[in-house]
Symmetry: D4
Subunit: 166 residues, 8 copies
């Protein structure tokens, strides 16, 4: 049973949304990925959002750019956490996406991550599920340990070769 719904308004968002999916896969979290547009097919979207709970979703990750309404409209319907990923945009650098997602009115929160923050959206979904899943929490800790090791290796290499040869 899928635990996380990943939804994007356009397949141009796929390169960022894939990162969320990859992290979830790596952490052993089931997910279902969907392309759906709240603007172009509002009926389909409504049906999706309303049935998300009974499909077993505990978290929805929604990515969108420009006047990004998809995460907020998910949050208006789905009763559990919605994570929003603001997409980078050419003209405004993603500020439009960011403001459209994070500045939600009182009562309908969207858990917003960084512009193009696909990896962090996946991690945040996993952390949410880990509040009641000790094994997932352990895998998340291992993931963090791995990040730490990568930095330590880089520093060791710097110390070894010197900054001019790095």
């Amino acid at each position: 049973m899928a635990k996380v719904g990943i939804v994007m308004g356009s397949d141009s968002d796929m390169p960022i949304m894939k990162k969320a999916a990859d992290v979830l896969e790596q952490l052993g979290v089931e997910f279902e990925m969907t392309i759906i547009s709240a603007h172009r097919e509002p009926d389909v979207f409504f049906e999706y959002a309303k049935s998300a709970e009974e499909k077993g979703f505990k978290v929805i990750i929604a990515g969108a750019g420009m006047a990004a309404h998809l995460p907020g409209m998910c949050a208006a319907i789905f009763p559990m956490p919605v994570i929003g990923i603001p997409m980078h945009t050419t003209s405004l650098g993603g500020r439009d996406s960011l403001y459209s997602i994070v500045q939600m009115p009182s009562g309908i929160p969207v858990a917003t991550v960084a512009i193009n923050g696909g990896v962090n959206a996946g991690l945040l979904a996993a952390k949410i599920l880990a509040t009641s899943d000790p094994e997932l929490l352990a895998r998340l800790k291992a993931y963090s340990e791995d990040l730490k090791n990568q930095v330590e290796k880089k520093d060791a290499r710097l110390k070894e070769v010197g900054y001019k040869n790095y």
Copy 2:
């Protein structure tokens, strides 16, 4: 039969939305004003937007602040013009509202006016209707003539009393 639907997500937007209503009344355009939240009552909102055409609406004026989804979601459902009014906001001065309304993706335009531009939203709705209503067009021209006269009077007074006494 109402021609213009005026809709706002919160009654805190009323002081701005009233200006749109006042202009429409002054120009003899029928309208219906509604408080409805796409976020807090998505079902009610959907019903409203879907039935707007059969209620006789030709234009919808939607005002919203922050992550302002109401105008864009109206435009996703209602097939005729939607005018968006971005509300001023304390922290971001209304940039959040503006970007959330004007930066709509291809296919779903929202005719956006200035931040807090209630009067202009009403005028734009009237201009839209005036494309097929010569009498309304005549009233709009008289409205513009009146604006012109007000400026001329101010200039005349300046010329008379001098800038130090203005």
Copy 3:
């Protein structure tokens, strides 16, 4: 008889303005496209804007970049709706164009669409005309249906091939 005037201040805006024209053509709306600069040939511009109504224009689409005065000056003279397209700019990403177009003073609205929003400007013009043209409204609904189908196809393909092969 042309219904929509499309005007741009510089032929460098053509790639965006063409999109508006293409949509109008696709929807069967007559239009006339003109290059005219309110700054470089104010007399020619004034004559254009003043004669627009008698040429049968019901809507003007005006695109401009930087200190974009063309849409606002059209709106100062032409009594029916003016749609403004803010052009993307290298240094400010189109914020200069957007603010110069959307922040119109009370009394002279410009219906502003997204930065580089050529398609949406064309659609908005058609929606305005559709308020009194049921056949055009039907074509607009079909256009929207087509957009919806495109998204559904993409989602079907995603479901079929999986996100890794998308």
Copy 4:
């Protein structure tokens, strides 16, 4: 046993943080509120963040303004979700707080809510816990229902008294 840690860097953030606490109390979620500064007492902060898991925290809500490091540093240490509230600031309107909280690097997500979004932070924490607590989920749904009713009452009053008397 407390489920949610609420932490702020300065007691000047209290008016916003109280809103998160009030929502949690209303929803029956236990929490512990602390004033702690990652900048002024890094040792105390480290101890706090490291012991948060064993104290039973499942979520931390951290509010901070300006160069807001508290939420991100909590997320660097605490393995479960951290919610960040960017505080409004006089000079930059909270953009500094927002960017310092939401633009986290890959690997360390902070679930960011709106500037001054205390209520939404509390709700988001509850939604996170509700992914494994059906009773809390039911209370959240009732909370949403209540929000919906409030809007409907306002609209009913508008319909009754008219916009001029609203």
Copy 5:
């Protein structure tokens, strides 16, 4: 014969425009002040701008706020220097006015001063005229000397009373 035309689109700009007039008066430069709106009375405006040269204007100072077109439209018609004053605005702090005035396309410069920079607009007009008027140049030098003296007096007072009593 007036040398400087001072023009504003709205009498709400008067407090700033007065400062330009006061400086010119102090420096013995003749000027004529006018309230005229390029948006609300384009014909009147065109007549004004076209006749400015024959009225003897050598410089025009134009102040405007929001989508501030007045300075740019003056520069499109009047062949000598146009100085633009961007007015402070509530929502965008005058960024809208500034961008609408300073970001002029190639060929039509507007000499832009600071947001609400009425004094500097007056001084700049005087400096322009001083390029061919040695007596005015002498008065400008005296004006600068006076500014210098004011700062020196403040520093002397600081040295005398100490910063705690300043």
Copy 6:
């Protein structure tokens, strides 16, 4: 005798500054171009600015990027008009240059043109000199007429070939 001083802080600004020089040459205005850094050689700069008047300069065009102090420091010393060109910058798009040049305190105006506005700086300098030089004014009018003709030719070509072949 040179009438216009053109000064830049770094030869990386040359591509923009050249445009100002080219316009002046085209209009028959003598100028002298200098590379001088107010930051790296303040003594040299001071000497330059102080001797500018006696060298016969009537206007200084100063270009600078980032924390652009050169135009403002010229204006602090040279008593006649200083025109500032804000250079585009990679990180902030030239906002830093623009604010550092246009937001001058009361008493020391800098006539600011658009970001990278080299042509307009040259034209503005010529317009300033034209306030006392009828022949230069005539050349400026011819220059404007030429700009107008260029636009008209483009429109004629559009009308001839149609927008699809433009």
Copy 7:
């Protein structure tokens, strides 16, 4: 012998500059405070900056607003560290001051603190001097300890009275 020069371009900056002075006094660091304008009295300013080293200054703290040139011009002349305080401004919130101070070109650094960051400027000056003054370093550590204690007291009070009574 004064170790720190505190300089401001206008006495309107005094409320912020006083905070720097107060911190230095509290830490036992000698300073000299001066009002001097690089724009209004460039000769006086140059003399000040050139003689700063021989007066014994090791650090200069310079505060300025809008197109804030004072810190950068100090750094162009004085060979030791210059600390810049960007002043809050009404229209741009201090972004103009911040960019004008922090975005210095390569070769002439200004150590920039937060907008209106008078206290931090004083502390930073003391920290710079403390690199060669162990007693001052000890006083700085005590100062930090005191900040820590203040936060701990607030947290203790919160724990005692509860957040509702705080």
Copy 8:
């Protein structure tokens, strides 16, 4: 014994951090460069920052991008000056890094240089050490003299070949 610690959160910051190292080397200042992440290895970071004083560091240069916490967290622990370099970022141009570094709360200053200002960070560190090291001060003066000579050579070449051949 190293005098300056250079620390970065990611080796992607190396091209900028190298510039700081190169300047220090050129000026004969010893330094130690480290890759350490406050977010990914908070324990390692804490140990680093706490031991920095006893390692003999007098200054720390910390570079970071996005929600850049590294400089501020160094400043929370290390008692002497911390210099922050905000990294350029794709979406927000480095504004996020800049605000996260410069907008530090009262009590914990970070000496912030320009976005990507690696050279200036190195110079500022040297200037700080030069407050108690006359020989280093002399080398810094020679460095500045060299910068001056470079500009003078460029101007001489411009004078020789003319701007068209430059």
